[in-house]
């Protein structure tokens, strides 16, 4: 139901499409996804563009997927530590699980996530890919 909503994804395009995070104006911690309240209790943030480069902390290959993702299955997902500090969940594309290792360097790529049936919206966003 919610995963078919184009609006729910639309409002996060700056994050999903080009990794726009934010940075605390007081202590300088970088957040992605964006935060409303910093660990230092500050509420003043500036938008911050992440490079999309990072390394794999851990990963899996999803073989049994939620129904919306069945066309894309199997696919790899990992937790990426971005160069600027934040850790983020991301699909790792153009690779099978055997080709990945903890610690591998990755960079962002823009890819399709899923198409909702034959008539629904197509969801896009940032994924990651090994730097070769």
């Amino acid at each position: 139901m919610h995963r078919q909503s184009p609006i729910l994804r639309w409002r996060k395009f700056p994050e999903r499409y080009r990794l726009e995070g934010n940075r605390c104006n007081r202590c300088g911690i970088v957040y992605f996804p964006k935060k409303e309240l910093c660990e230092c209790s500050c509420k003043e943030f500036s938008s911050f563009q992440l490079s999309g480069k990072g390394k794999i902390l851990t990963y899996t290959e999803i073989k049994s997927s939620p129904e919306e993702f069945s066309e894309m299955t199997p696919y790899c997902v990992g937790i990426i530590e971005l160069a600027e500090g934040p850790k983020i969940t991301g699909q790792i594309t153009d690779a099978t699980v055997d080709e990945l290792k903890v610690g591998d360097d990755v960079e962002q790529v823009f890819r399709k996530f899923l198409a909702v049936g034959d008539s629904g919206v197509i969801h896009y966003g940032v994924k990651f890919k090994k730097i070769e």
């Binding site: 899996t60 049994s64 939620p66």
Partner: protein
């Protein structure tokens, strides 16, 4: 602080219960618990029901009213949701209501009807326990999230795939002694390794199943509970929360909220973890039991592999864990799990656990996790109201 006693327990059979609806399950466990307590339903002042997905899986929300209607009561009746920790959080609400003077006797339920939808739909519904905005969008499943923890843990502590499989092997063995368990078959390490991969490196037999079930307990104020035959006492209760998403967590190889919740519960109980005789931990996936026994301090960090190989976590071992078969083999009806853990500890402390009885048990502990460690509740139970320095 005033103690709260458990004076009645009840649970349905756990499994794929095609003939029973959400309401049928809830009714059965409620009535069993009331019967076990030897009270009238009219003695109940308040009802809490833990449940996660009834809206997604049965199209039914508003379970508070369903629970009270079953008992023909007009008392306040409230649904509690904290993903897989819903049951334990409901128990804490009941306990706090008694301590706060709101009620003398409280009925606490946990229920989940999961098999009315397809597995893929259930998978999507359960992802509501994670961060939908990032984890769900990326196509993660709960098995995927725990698979990532498993990979990180195996990488850090050199746990082998074979060692990890021992969790499921042991829990299936335990379940053969538990009449309400979902499964009554033993499995081998090879079977775990060769079952289909769900989210690499976890296979089907690393995963708790999709199970229907309901469990209920009756709580009573200290002075009332003392009038009942062998009440079991809640000696301590702790809850800790952490980030909704796994990626924002400080560690991927442990669940810090488990450690914090355990410290709070044990401090309240004035007990060390070494005094706990029997433990029910949250093994939604095999790796979860590995992390749990370390997070609770039952064994040193990073040694789960060796300790499991030595058979220490069997019900007759030095650190008995999940004597009921755990979530893996007793089954994991999400909202019911936390209450079923209490049901098992009460059985053990009452010396009613039959073939899986660990011997004389004085202190028991439950550990119930919501999401990837976003909510953790640890409760400590005792046969006696006071710490007698066992």
């Amino acid at each position: 602080m005033e103690k709260v006693g458990i004076i009645g327990i009840g649970a349905t059979k756990f499994g794929e219960l095609w003939k029973q609806s959400l309401r049928d399950l809830l009714a059965e466990s409620q009535l069993k618990a009331i019967e076990d307590a030897k009270i009238s339903e009219k003695d109940i002042d308040l009802i809490f029901t833990g449940n996660m997905c009834s809206g997604d899986f049965s199209g039914q929300n508003h379970l508070g009213s369903m629970a009270s209607e079953i008992l023909n009561l007009n008392v306040p009746s409230i649904r509690v949701e904290a993903a897989c920790a819903s049951g334990s959080v409901a128990l804490r609400q009941g306990m706090q209501a008694i301590r706060g003077g709101e009620a003398d006797i409280v009925l606490v339920n946990g229920v989940e009807k999961m098999t009315d939808v397809q597995t893929r739909q259930a998978t999507t519904g359960l992802m509501g326990a994670g961060d939908e905005e990032w984890e769900g969008f990326n196509g993660l499943t709960f098995c995927g999230l725990y698979a990532m923890m498993a990979r990180a843990y195996m990488h850090k502590y050199r746990l082998t795939r074979e060692q990890l499989a021992l969790v499921s092997v042991k829990n299936h063995k335990h379940a053969t002694y538990n009449p309400i368990a979902h499964y009554h078959n033993e499995i081998t390490v090879d079977q775990v390794l060769n079952s289909s991969i769900i989210a690499d490196p976890l296979t089907l037999l690393d995963c708790s199943p999709i199970t229907d079930g309901s469990a209920s307990v009756v709580l009573a104020r200290e002075d009332i509970a003392r009038k009942f035959e062998s009440p079991i006492w809640i000696l301590g209760s702790g809850q800790a929360n952490d980030t909704l998403s796994l990626h924002a967590r400080k560690s991927l190889t442990e669940i810090p909220a488990s450690t914090h919740a355990a410290q709070r519960a044990l401090m309240q109980a004035k007990l060390g973890i070494d005094k706990v005789n029997v433990t029910e931990v949250h093994d939604c996936f095999s790796i979860a039991e590995v992390m749990a026994i370390e997070d609770l301090g039952l064994i040193p960090r990073g040694e789960a592999g060796r300790i499991m190989e030595e058979g220490q976590t069997y019900f007759d071992g030095k650190v008995p864990v999940n004597s009921c078969g755990g979530l893996k083999a007793c089954g994991h009806p999400i909202g019911a799990t936390g209450i079923k853990q209490v049901w098992e500890i009460v059985k053990q402390l009452r010396n009613e656990a039959g073939k899986r009885q660990i011997g004389k048990a004085n202190i028991g502990l439950t550990h119930n996790v919501g999401g990837t460690g976003s909510t953790v509740v640890v409760n400590v139970f005792g046969r006696d109201r006071e710490n007698k320095g066992y």
